[in-house]
């Protein structure tokens, strides 16, 4: 039997699925169930569906869910509910990594770019956590401020080099979150984030325990640093994957986990599915609004 919580979750999943179906049928070219099944236009509608609409919708769902999960884990790592990858230097570091690899080795495959961006994101986040340790007074608001400053510094370095190398426009295009360019073949990397979310869910209890502090974690026989490292890797890789494929979606990782936390608390095993569903639904909703409001033009999600 399902309990109330699970019933609500099922309803939420259905609602997001409804949005996803809606999303598939919104766009400039004429894709409706009718055109799909009447074979009049040589299956053109079907092609649009397979090459553009479905990939786009999947990309939105994956990016939204994984960025929200990354935000949640980030909040555990920093033990602060006001941080997320875009306020901790993670996104900016991934951007820097992307720039570096594009300049030094432009031939690198997308996977290679993602890996380099992940490593940069990892280093950036690690730096953030180190800087936090050095600050004696960790007030709730100082933590995200430090992150934003650090992000600003890294962002400035990136911008400087991009400016010197005449890559500013490309940089902007990379970092502004947009699902407009998503076609079949250009989003598959995002499936990695699904794998990362599954890992996060499997390790959910460890993250809950780590969220209670180092002493608490050690008492229960867990290695605190190992849990932190796992979290750091998940956050960095998710961020890198999303930045490389769709660009930056700021504040998603901040809002969604906090909304869920108010409703469901801090038991990560219970909240992760919610964070994923609401994160996906939220981005999907924004993207649909962005597509409809200035139809047939688009407002970028980021």
């Amino acid at each position: 039997m399902l309990d109330t919580n699970q019933k609500q979750l099922v309803i939420a999943v259905l609602a997001v699925s409804g949005l996803a179906i809606l999303s598939i049928f919104i766009g400039v070219s004429d894709v409706t169930p009718q055109t799909l099944f009447s074979n009049s236009e040589d299956g053109r509608a079907l092609q649009v569906l397979l090459i553009s609409r479905i990939p786009r919708t999947l990309a939105i769902l994956l990016a939204g869910a994984s960025m929200a999960v990354a935000g949640m884990i980030m909040q555990i790592l920093a033990r602060n509910h006001f941080v997320e990858p875009s306020t901790a230097g993670t996104v900016e570091s991934a951007g820097l990594g992307l720039l570096v690899v594009t300049v030094l080795a432009p031939e690198t495959t997308v996977i290679g770019k993602m890996l380099v961006a992940s490593i940069f994101a990892l280093l950036g986040t690690f730096l953030f956590l180190r800087v936090l340790r050095m600050i004696p007074l960790r007030s709730v608001l100082v933590v995200p401020l430090v992150g934003i400053m650090l992000g600003g510094v890294i962002g400035a370095i990136t911008t400087f080099f991009a400016y010197r190398l005449d890559l500013l426009q490309s940089l902007n295009a990379w970092l502004t979150g947009s699902f407009a360019g998503i076609l079949s073949g250009r989003y598959e990397l995002l499936w990695i984030s699904l794998g990362l979310m599954i890992i996060a869910y499997i390790a959910a209890d460890r993250f809950t325990v780590a969220g209670m502090g180092q002493d608490f974690t050690t008492n229960l026989g867990l290695n605190y640093n190992r849990v932190m490292t796992l979290g750091l890797i998940i956050v960095s890789m998710v961020t890198a994957v999303v930045v490389v494929t769709v660009g930056m979606i700021p504040f998603l990782g901040l809002i969604v986990p906090n909304v869920v936390r108010q409703m469901q608390g801090d038991n990560i095993r219970r909240t992760t599915p919610w964070v994923m569903v609401i994160g996906a639904g939220f981005v999907l909703f924004c993207d649909i609004i962005g597509r409809v409001i200035r139809y047939p033009y688009e407002i970028l999600s980021g």
Partner: protein, 252 residues
Amino acid sequence: MIEIKDVSKSYDKTVVVDGVSLKIPAGGITSIIGPNGAGKSTLLALISRLLPMNSGQVLVDGLNVTTTPGDALARKLSILRQDNHIGSRLTVHDLVTFGRYPYSKGRPTIEDLKHVRMALQYLNLESMSGRFLDELSGGQRQRAFVAMVLCQDTDYVLLDEPLNNLDMKHAAAMMKLLRRTADELGKTVVLVLHDVNFASCYSDYIVAMKDGKIAYRGNPSEIIRPDIMRGIYDMDIAVQDVDGKRIAIYYA
């Protein structure tokens, strides 16, 4: 038995625990008392491997706490410190269930849930098991954490100032409960206490620390005496017998 062998801990040049050797017998309640900064909490953290020691070693039933795997030790010894993270929104039931983590690794069995129910019952928390920690009073929260530690069902239970945030009624109830845990469940309870009278009334063995060293040790009637109190706290404290318990009068 917990054997502490020549253990030292220092931060930079400040020595906090200075070459302490001590045997804490198995069974019963041992209280560690002493003035602020005597190194009581640090010693407890060293015993429970929350802090690395600079030298010496600690053996718990022969297990070296530095080298024994964390999850094995977590089934032998549990520790509750005084500054618990209260920002987390966990329910009381979830928190207590995490006490079973060393056994269940996050997948509690029926057996584990039985322990959870018993611990909640023991601390009279059943009616609030669905409440979030941040919605509880300080005393209720403290009881929830103690329930979690009891649920961990270890032979050794270490508590750093468990009476913090508790009023007289709940403080006395907590000490009675710990007494019961020691007597009925056969656990070894080690406490850091500030109130010497609670130590006097409820412990089997008292260890007094001063300046990072063990100053005195013995049973309550040997320790709660004016001359020894003067030696520990540098103040004149009268001691009276009340119903067979030695009570220190330090208010005036």
